[in-house]
Symmetry: C2
Subunit: 296 residues, 2 copies
């Protein structure tokens, strides 16, 4: 399969939903919607929602009513970027080649836009029965996955670990633990939510979880390598920022080539986890490869 | 009934749950839990969870397995206070007589503690079937109420309206609209969630919603009056802050006495909404009266 055209078409599908999502809202204050939309529609790769879709497809499900649930992952991811970029956190002025949310709308509005996006993610997961064809049990399990993946035992917990580790002399195992929470848990939630949508058996859900943990690791390794060797033009944000901040990364421990090799091993392991799945899981397999091969 | 002893006993019940909620968490980073607990256990009146309990009781439900759902309201309320107090928002140093979260833990951690509390509210609503006796349908409806009450069409939307109205020449009707969103929607969610717990009929849920809207208004009127006439000792935070910020409040439009009278009318209307309910709704009735009579 051509993974690039698969990713493009699924991203377009997700973007189509994201662009429509606020159209029905005529509520003032419109500046809140502008601020939420500004970051939501900043043109990311939509890798988390695409993982949700690909996992559901691996189980034979491909209806559009999963889009609100897939989009919920992007809402959570976007809110986390907005809050991360704040002066009190990473203090970044650029993101995906554009000014960060607080540089355009101010800090107070950026905090509220993030809060609004996070809350709306859960609203999307709890849509009424006439809008989606999933059971209450499925939807509630999805809410739980999303909350656990993004909260204190997931992404938010990892953020805090990450802040605490800056300028600390940490070991590789601790770095791995930070990333398992900071980026891994939300990626795992994305894949597992796709599994729940596709009514995975407990065994299938276990395989999908293992796959997600491995690609989550590869994803972070690739990010670290790109931050070190990429250019500002490629990344749409400043490169080399980790090094300047004295932040330990995979290349710090393993060198750029060693980190790449480690990432490739994660990809191989991820693909091996899917051995019970047929060709319907090919998108998941190719996404794993793509994650280490990407240049932006 | 003695409303003060009712409120004390229900608050103790809620506090008992809140104090235990993080005990099982041994996950580092412990500073995140300290920060979340610091604000969560700062000794509020727990009015929102108590409203949830009182609404469920009005329908004959009083089991302890509703406590996670009631507590979720307090998680959302607490996160909103932490984010509101940030320098980029209200820039408050004190809350309930203690330093605000960011004054103790720093701005970055305060933002993340708020994010963690908000996310955990939804985790509490999605607890597994062996922990609670509610149907998936009920739990999902509760997630939806909480998201709608606290998000862009609820509390967060109201926050933005409130920021935009500062130093603006707004009318009374606009002030009322701001408060309907900023504080009213979450109070309505609290009462409606109690209604869902108690399996309210659609008509009963409508009555409870009307009750909640009226007491939400009274609650804000009472807050504004207290901010104007209360002392720092009574409030545990600085008094007269609204006036200093040039913020329009009910007393600005109606005078202190006029505002009190308006609040009393809301209370009367709220009680009238409960005419179909028997004595089991007495706590709700007395809470309505208490809201305007309170001194802190």
């Amino acid at each position: 399969m051509n993974i690039q055209s698969y990713l493009d078409s699924q991203r377009t599908r997700v973007d189509g939903f994201l662009e429509k999502v606020f159209l029905g809202n005529t509520l003032e204050p419109s500046v809140l919607y502008q601020s939420m939309r500004y970051s939501l529609l900043a043109g990311g790769k939509r890798i988390r929602p695409v993982l949700t879709i690909a996992a559901a497809q691996a189980l034979g499900y491909d209806k559009d009513d999963m889009l609100p649930l897939a989009a919920a992952l992007e809402f959570v991811h976007t809110y986390s970027l907005i809050h991360d970029d704040l002066p009190a956190m990473d203090d970044d002025d650029y993101r995906r080649g554009r000014l960060t949310n607080h540089k355009v709308y101010g800090e107070g509005m950026a905090i509220l836009a993030g809060d609004g996006l996070l809350t709306m993610a859960f609203e999307l997961c709890s849509l009424k029965e006439n809008d989606v064809s999933f059971s209450y049990q499925q939807q509630l399990a999805i809410v739980r996955e999303l909350a656990q993946g993004s909260g204190h035992q997931g992404m938010v917990g990892g953020q805090v670990m990450d802040i605490q580790a800056e300028n600390q002399d940490i070991e590789l195992s601790h770095l791995q633990r930070i990333h398992a929470y900071k980026t891994g848990r939300l990626i795992r939630a994305a894949v597992r939510i796709g599994g729940i949508i596709g009514e995975a058996t407990p065994t299938q859900l276990e395989c999908l979880s293992g796959y997600a943990e491995d690609i989550g690791l590869a994803f972070q390794v690739a990010d670290d390598v790109l931050n070190m060797v990429g250019t500002r033009e490629e990344l749409g944000k400043n490169a080399g920022t980790d090094e300047k901040r004295g932040k330990k990364t995979y290349p710090t421990f393993l060198g750029v080539e060693g980190a790449r090799q480690f990432g490739e091993q994660c990809v191989d392991r991820a693909i091996a986890r899917l051995s019970e799945f047929g060709p319907s899981a090919d998108p998941l397999r190719h996404i794993a490869i793509y994650i280490m091969a990407r240049r932006t």
